[in-house]
């Protein structure tokens, strides 16, 4: 630090070093800049003390305030839960068939159902709820087990052919071909009869007789299905497993039995209610009619084909 001197050209003192005759003027940093630097240092000390900062072997220091991003998320989730508590309680207290009389609650239920559907249902039914081969389209007017909001909820709660659940929607079609119940020629005749219901094939007496003997119990004498057995309407345009001749024949040969989980084991009742409201809102939902009792007559009256039969005037 020996050779400090005043530079003549600028009038500023040098720092005193000389490298090959090159010297540096001693122009200190502006004071505001230094103060800013000191302020950030002081801030960082406080930050290290109160927030998680220093990485240790297994985890970082926790900090005096005990903040963590997980903790913050939990707090926000809890706040959100509290915010929704009123709606959830109201939903829990409202029987699903009465939802329609509470438009605000219905709207909330549909919104919640939309979110739950994305998590639980899209894997099979698709993000647009349009289904695919073997997985029903939930937007059309064809319902295997009933399309009013109460029936949808029941289906969701108990599932379809869910193993180990006594209340589940249960029905079983025999594998007419595979188990040798009908010989191949009869199989073809029944297939022709079934296709003739929608005009895709010509009617034949043998097929009609076989249908009446083997199929009409569940599918009805005219093939229009019966919802109490989840037996599909064979006289409409919708085919869950395809409506081509070989597809229909394959269904009769080896039978079909789709499965849906009983959601009551996975989801809480309010979420199921919301899912039912959402599915019902997709355009195919049928109006709920308070039946005097679930008599077979009432069930039979609920013709499966369209929603119009069930609609209230």
């Amino acid at each position: 630090m020996a050779n400090k001197r005043i530079d003549e050209a600028t009038g500023v003192e040098t720092v005193g070093h000389s490298w090959d005759g090159i010297e540096e003027l001693n122009n200190p940093l502006p004071r505001w800049w230094l103060w800013t630097l000191y302020a950030t240092i002081i801030f960082s000390i406080g930050y290290v003390i109160v927030y998680p900062a220093i990485p240790m072997v297994n985890k970082a220091t926790e900090g005096l305030w005990g903040w963590s991003s997980r903790g913050q998320l939990a707090k926000e989730m809890k706040a959100e839960e509290q915010r929704r508590a009123g709606t959830v309680a109201a939903l829990a207290a409202t029987p699903i068939e009465q939802l329609a009389s509470k438009p605000d609650l219905m709207r909330a239920a549909i919104d919640g159902g939309r979110a739950a559907f994305r998590v639980n249902c899209v894997q099979c039914h698709g993000s647009g709820a349009a289904g695919s081969t073997g997985y029903p389209n939930l937007r059309d007017d064809d319902w295997l087990w009933g399309g009013n909001i109460k029936e949808i909820e029941t289906t969701l709660i108990n599932g379809i052919r869910h193993p180990g659940n006594d209340a589940t929607r249960q029905s079983l079609m025999p594998s007419f071909g595979k188990d040798g119940i009908l010989p191949p020629a009869d199989l073809a005749a029944v297939t022709d009869h079934v296709l003739s219901l929608t005009g895709k094939s010509t009617a034949n007496a043998r097929g009609a007789q076989l249908f009446a003997d083997n199929c009409a119990t569940c599918h009805g004498p005219d093939g229009k299905g019966l919802r109490q057995f989840g037996a599909p309407n064979l006289a409409d345009a919708i085919w869950l497993y395809g409506g081509k001749r070989e597809q229909v024949e394959a269904s009769i040969y080896k039978a079909r039995a789709g499965v849906m989980p009983a959601w009551t084991k996975t989801l809480d009742p309010v979420t199921i209610k919301m899912l039912a409201a959402y599915v019902h809102s997709l355009g195919g939902g049928e109006d709920f009619v308070a039946a005097p009792a679930a008599t077979p007559a009432a069930a039979a009256a609920a013709t499966p084909a369209t929603g119009e039969a069930n609609a209230q005037p």
Binding site: N137, D141, A237, T306, G307
Partner: protein, 484 residues
């Protein structure tokens, strides 16, 4: 910290406070007029009422950010019509160019808020402290009881004006009478208090303390203007060829050929609100308010000399006059081709906006088709497509409307409210005042319908007609793949 400046040389000059002297004359009177008119517009506008019926606020000018509406007398603007505001802003920008082209820095001199509030605060100075000499004396004097009292009163008035200014601003964004009550009872939104606080501070600091420094050091507009001015632009200028060499009346009597008209009385500097000496030539510090002209003309009158030693003229005209020509009229300067071009553009935008305003539709339809799935096969073989329609009613009253299908033979539609059994080709709906109504619409077409284009047609069902038409598509299964 040491500055790199060589010893003895200072690059920063401390502000010399400006204490402009009272002056009277045509320019000062025009400045008074502008002061009163602009401040009245600013403070009073939010209190004007305008009846729009029961469904809309009755404030004449209201920027309703909460509900996303902008009201200006009979005009109501929705967010998607913001181009009207953008157009007005463009017109304001071009208007600045136009004024500059026609009259030089007239914006700076008479209507810039900085100028207006500085002028207002300088009047407060005179009211409390007296004219220039008294102010200078008080400034130089010791902090005795009088000075403390006067400063206290003056700054309190500054603060009151500033607060009033900040308070008037927020009135444009909510119903003024309601907000006033809410503000004083502590019920207004926090942003209202923050805005008032910020604007009170900026008014106090810019108008009360910084004043001409804002124009000289901070504002970009003088810099832009200097690029826009040339020898054909009107400026306030000192005719040095006539004024120099300065000398007293007696000196001029002694040497009439050497001594000019300027008697170096310094009145032009004393009245200048930015403290500039115009005799040094055109400068950013000159805001072209013309008060020095008022001051100088008065002196020239007293001395019996020709007015206009300091003049509002173009440099070209000054040269013309110097060469012995007649003094030219200001109007002739204002009507140059540049001014006409700016006027043309300005007027064209204005006419376009008015045309758009006159022909705009007040109801609107938008259609979003469900694409997942694109169509649904119904059990009886019919095909259904789902749509979300948004019906927009931009009038401040409920309006009945109808939506009809155009094309797609045999099709019908229904909504959740109607139910399938009442499906038809026409929906009748009422959209609440000033609302957008979303409606889920299910359109069903007979078996065998192929994919097709069709339109939803919206029509108002009240006396004031109007409508909209949106073409969209109808998806259907391919014949061959029907079964998949």
């Amino acid at each position: 910290m040491r500055s790199p400046e060589p010893a003895g040389q200072v690059y920063y000059e401390k502000r010399k406070a400006v204490f402009p002297k009272v002056v009277d004359g045509p320019f000062r009177r025009f400045k008074w007029l502008m002061l009163v008119v602009t401040l009245t517009i600013y403070y009073a506008t939010p209190w004007l009422r305008w009846d729009r019926g029961p469904y809309a606020p009755d404030q004449a000018v209201l920027v309703d950010l909460a509900n996303r509406r902008f009201y200006m007398f009979s005009i109501e603007i929705w967010p998607h019509e913001f181009y009207f505001v953008a157009g007005l802003l463009i017109m304001a920008g071009i208007g600045l160019f136009l004024i500059t082209s026609a009259f030089g820095r007239a914006w700076c001199g008479y209507s810039c808020p900085q100028t207006i509030w500085t002028d207002l605060f300088q009047h407060v100075d005179r009211l409390i402290d007296g004219d220039r000499n008294a102010q200078l004396k008080l400034e130089a004097g010791p902090w005795n009881a009088t000075k403390v009292f006067k400063r206290g009163v003056k700054w309190s008035i500054y603060l009151a004006i500033s607060f009033w200014t900040g308070g008037a601003w927020i009135m444009y964004f909510a119903d003024a009478p309601t907000l006033t009550v809410d503000f004083w009872t502590g019920q207004a939104v926090p942003v209202a208090y923050a805005t008032v606080a910020v604007l009170t501070a900026t008014t106090f600091i810019f108008g009360g303390l910084m004043r001409e420094q804002v124009c000289i050091y901070m504002c970009p507009w003088p810099r832009i203007q200097t690029a826009m001015l040339d020898e054909k632009s009107l400026i306030v200028t000192y005719k040095d060829w006539r004024g120099e060499q300065r000398g007293s009346v007696k000196a001029k009597e002694r040497e009439p050929d050497l001594i000019g008209d300027c008697v170096d009385c310094n009145q032009c500097v004393a009245v200048c609100p930015t403290g500039y000496d115009i005799r040094n030539g055109p400068d950013i510090a000159c805001i072209t308010c013309g008060l020095c002209i008022d001051a100088c003309d008065k002196v020239m009158d007293q001395l019996g000399r020709t007015r206009g030693l300091i003049d509002y003229a173009t440099l070209e005209d000054c040269e013309h006059e110097r060469a012995g020509g007649e003094r030219r009229s200001i109007l002739k300067t204002a009507l140059n081709w540049r001014t006409l071009a700016y006027s043309g553009v300005w007027a064209a935008i204005g006419v376009a906006l008015l045309f758009a305003l006159g022909t705009r539709q007040r109801i609107d339809l938008s259609v979003a088709k469900d694409r997942n799935p694109p169509f649904m096969l119904l059990s009886n073989g019919e095909v259904r497509n789902d749509y979300t329609l948004k019906l927009r009613n931009m009038e401040a009253r409920p309006r009945p409307m109808s939506v009809t299908l155009e094309g797609l033979p045999g099709a019908a539609m229904w909504t959740d409210e109607m139910g399938r059994e009442r499906a038809s080709r026409e929906l009748q709906l009422t959209v609440a005042a000033d609302q957008t109504k979303p409606v889920r619409v299910y359109v069903v077409a007979p078996e065998g319908t192929e994919e097709d284009e069709f339109s939803f047609v919206l029509a108002a069902r009240d006396r004031e007609a109007g409508g909209d038409r949106v073409e969209t598509r109808f998806d259907a299964p391919d014949e061959e793949e029907e079964d998949e």
